[in-house]
Symmetry: C2
Subunit: 343 residues, 2 copies
Amino acid sequence: MKQKLTKLSELGEFKLIDELTKDFKIKNKSTIKGVGDDAAIIDSSDKETVITTDLLVEGIHFDLTYSSLKYIGYKAVVVNLSDIYAMNAVPKQITVSFALSNKFSYEALSEIYKGIHNACEAYGVDLIGGDSSSSKLGFFISVTAIGEVEKGKAVYRNTAQETDLICVSGDLGAAYMGLQLLEREKSIFAKTPEIQPDFRGNEYIIQRQLRPEARKDIIELLADKNITPTSMIDISDGLSSEILHICKKSKKGCEIYEDKLPIDKQTIEMSHELGIEPTISAMNGGEDYELLFTIPLSDYEKIKKYPQVSVIGHITKHENQIDLISENGVKVPITAQGWNAIK
Amino acid sequence: MKQKLTKLSELGEFKLIDELTKDFKIKNKSTIKGVGDDAAIIDSSDKETVITTDLLVEGIHFDLTYSSLKYIGYKAVVVNLSDIYAMNAVPKQITVSFALSNKFSYEALSEIYKGIHNACEAYGVDLIGGDSSSSKLGFFISVTAIGEVEKGKAVYRNTAQETDLICVSGDLGAAYMGLQLLEREKSIFAKTPEIQPDFRGNEYIIQRQLRPEARKDIIELLADKNITPTSMIDISDGLSSEILHICKKSKKGCEIYEDKLPIDKQTIEMSHELGIEPTISAMNGGEDYELLFTIPLSDYEKIKKYPQVSVIGHITKHENQIDLISENGVKVPITAQGWNAIK
């Protein structure tokens, strides 16, 4: 009898990882936190070491028809640093491995490394190793970032408390709208090459997609103002997906207010142009690399005057009540519509 | 004017990495050793953290027509642990990232994770994170290993001293002969599928290729006997390539004695069958994952009674004299014929 095989798409990435890693038991005392957060934590005497890794694949995470090689290198580093910041830690080192086909020249690869170098300079991290290989088709880049945090200061995603305020840095949905615009222009160009894409007026959303930044400044602001978030995660798969992680892991619910969602003007305009509700872009668009975190109510006075942070809701008691409160006051359950790399 | 582009194959992996990373300056005090050894070293108060990463690519590093998925998972971990041991460190954690096409089922991926799990159990390491993605073609697995070593006890490849003895663990060339045999049988099977491959009598070389081990036992033996190697590297690209690394980085020469090379009977027989000199298999065959290290002459008495270690030569003064002394006493300069993943 032939065994029925399970398609990977039936499981989804998080279920998949849960399933694959469920039999792995922690054996070393120095392993403080393993699989299941933005990054892992290793004990290092007076500090803790934070490790995370991300793989970027041509045709899945980036498209060489509209991204520059330098931006791809930059983004590959930044998405990892974002995970380190999301643990309230400071990134210090990275390793970079890549596989690429023969069609790439040294000059092309060198452009990628310029982007990696720019990111190392911008964030003060050291490139300390890596590996290289050929591939039969396509380009793969795998980055591991290592950071440090004072003992006991790492912030997890499973520690949100009832009544905590839910905060988000920057604005949401722009990277997703940038991607939609790039994809639209790519398909127009494929049909009618004489029409050159014109991105004037949409520079911000394009840049958010192609050359995102990690929120080093927010971690510094929180430290400076003596605010320790009760939980934190970075927004790589969309706000809906990330707030679900925080609530489910913390066994809490939440209310997010639609009218509090920070959305840039360009994101709103492009959403309208493409017939998408801006709220949908903000809730479900991935790759913002903003920080989503919770703080005690008592820290509200400290945070409220910083425009780079928006308070968008609060944590509630019941874990099955994870809701968006719409502008007209209707409660809508939040479901994961997040971007998913396993297609 | 069109710029002349450089093919990656013109550079070779080590030159490529040197070129790509030459402008990266170390910025963090905690970065003790960056690019350029088996692994990087990070300061962690009373210990040092050791980091290494390796990428395995379908069709380059493994072939699904003759390797089992479980072995691929096992090998992906082991090749990284080998780099950690080669720093005289103990591996503690790994992260695993993979990209794979839709043709893979969950059950297939699960087999790979069984292999990863087996390696974690065998070597006492914790899986602490990773990433997953789809790919358009082929399977990629990227593993990062993290280990620890007492402060100042890490062993580098650039610290061999004149008169030091050159030692190697286990035997050489078997993994390469295993690969040659597998490739031969694959091509026979492709032409005449009714002929099933028969590996009887060649189990050892096949296993060395498909399911290598890292030399945890050697690191434990050295610690137990209070021997600190003056330099060390693991043999992934072949003895020739690795001894060249040690000599060039240490600015020394060496003499390796052909008649001291440890070669298994199966390796010798298969070399003869395929018309290859067994010495060539031992010197240039990659993927042995044995440890190549140097010790002071004064430690000879301590090491000589252990059959798992062979003394194969000694370090000499002049860095341009890196020689193999053949069985009939002829000096042959050693050149890098090592296996190279950038083709």
